[in-house]
Amino acid sequence: MTAASIALNLTPATQYLLRIGDTCLILGQRLGEWCGHAPILEEDIAMANIALDFIGQARALLAHAGTLEGAGHDEDQLAFLRNERDYFNLTLVELPRGDFAASVLRNTMVATWLKLLWQRLAADSQDDEVRAIAAKALKEARYHQQHSADWVVRLGDGTAESRRRMEEALSDLWRFSAEMFDTDAVDEAAAAQGIGPRWSELEAPWRAEMTDILREATLEVPADSAFRSDGKRGRHSEHMGFILADMQYLQRAYPGGVW
């Protein structure tokens, strides 16, 4: 493995899988930052546990995307040696971890979305490996959603301070959800090939589940905004470069290393 970046030989199928795998990878990366800094020990453990699940999901998806790509790239080359524009995660997961309110809200938004996506992939994907990955990940996503949503409810319907912070988190993060559902050629091709659903099909059930959670938390669903993020097409926020600088550091600085 050399330090120079790898060039991807993208097809809609690989890009579709990298969008999911990179979302897991980068959220796992962000959640790892909580280690030793959570409000209670149980949450240090839970955050590490959820991060671990995400890294596991990312490994499976990146390895499979590498196989489909057919250029001989393994999970680590894909995880550590791409240029920023070749990562396709949702922008939402690259935002700084923020406070605990922002973290649990983001986890809830992503876990709810992933749960719906894994359900569809586990049931309908024509790709055996994708079905297998999704079946395992679905169980994890259910737990992630439950755990995070419980916190959204507690904090939304807790103290005035916790409610203020949840409202702020909603105002900051909700606008990034549009990216989860807008559709494009990658989506269409993946649907046509039977890899997985168009993401737009997940919007209605996602909104329904999130609305229920927010209602229980006595929080209002924010209004839609004209803001659009575009990480899944490789146009990231300014935060992404700093994530990669840390994440890729050892692979870049020790070319040819074996770990």
Binding site: G32, G56, L155, G158, T159, E161, L250, G257, W259
Partner: protein
């Protein structure tokens, strides 16, 4: 006096003491101090390792590291629970940590400067911890002994993983990686053998703890055992231990080793080690930054309770 005699007899007979049993106040305090200190070490110990989660070099190593810190958090939980059986709440123990009244293992006041530090902590620091902890699995206080059995099992797994990661770098890595491993071993060796505590003749509390079956093996004896094992492991790895006086003594059937710099040990214990402020500062900040979360959880539970009662 009756109770005291009966307690002593049980200790002498090798019986286990349970939380509900009568125990001398000094025994209770000694155990509480030791168990809570051990619990604090687990959670402070998450910090130096957590420092490398975002920079782990492969996804497999990142996953292993996340699993390890998660386990350490779990050990903290069991140990706080064991200590709670002695009549102190977790919040009280954390308060003692945050205000500097309680200690944690001084080894975590050293920085993790390279990726090889993570493997080296697994090999040497977890290795030393296991040496210290295995005898505690036979500790006279049963809740502590039970927690330690589970912890020791996971710790040896971590120790093997840490050693394995160093072995991979030494056997298959680049010269730069091998230099990184040697550098990490150079920095962690002496602090690791200090983890067994002061020499027996300067360890005033040891005798009482031995008498009570809280401590089973002396500091120097454990240290010797650790050094002897590490020398062989270092050979297999292909690293040099940074002690020119380290050599086999055929007469003692053990390794002689150089003089430990106890002034450094006391300096770090005393608060002037490389990362004491950072470690305690990070824990206090996490606690203070999280106050609103804990308050909100309580408030929510209170409302919920009220609603249930009203229903």
């Amino acid at each position: 006096m009756r109770l005291q005699e009966r307690f002593d007899a049980r200790i002498d007979a090798g019986d286990f003491i349970e939380a509900k049993d009568w125990m001398p106040e000094h025994y209770r305090k000694t155990l509480l101090r030791q168990i809570s200190q051990h619990a604090h070490s687990e959670i402070v110990g998450m910090l130096p390792e957590g420092n490398w989660i975002t920079r782990a070099p492969t996804l497999k190593r990142k996953a292993i590291l996340l699993a390890k810190v998660q386990d350490e958090g779990g050990h903290g939980l069991y140990l706080y629970a064991a200590a709670e059986t002695l009549g102190s709440s977790r919040d009280q123990m954390l308060d003692a940590l945050h205000t500097g009244k309680a200690k944690y293992s001084s080894i975590f006041n050293y920085p993790t400067l390279t990726w090889a530090d993570i493997g080296t902590i697994g090999w040497l620091v977890d290795g030393a911890a296991i040496m210290n902890q295995v005898p505690i699995c036979r500790c006279s206080y049963a809740p502590y002994a039970r927690a330690m059995i589970r912890i020791c099992r996971e710790e040896s797994f971590h120790q093997r993983q840490g050693y394995g990661s160093l072995l991979t770098m030494m056997q298959h890595g680049t010269p730069e990686q091998k230099a990184m491993v040697q550098d990490a071993v150079d920095r962690w060796w002496w602090p690791s053998i200090m983890m067994f505590g002061p020499p027996d003749d300067q360890s005033p509390n040891s005798a009482q703890s031995m008498r009570w079956g809280i401590k089973r093996v002396s500091n120097d004896e454990l240290r010797q055992k650790f050094v002897d094992a590490a020398v062989e492991q270092a050979k297999v790895l292909g690293v040099t231990l940074p002690d020119p006086e380290l050599k086999w003594n055929d007469e003692r059937q053990a390794h002689d080793f150089g003089a430990i710099d106890w002034s450094e040990f006391w300096r770090v214990i005393g608060g002037d080690g490389p990362c004491n402020r950072e470690r305690l500062g990070a824990r206090v900040k996490a606690w203070e930054d999280g106050a609103w979360v804990r308050e909100a959880a309580l408030a929510h539970a209170g409302k919920h309770q009220t609603m249930k009662e009203a229903a």
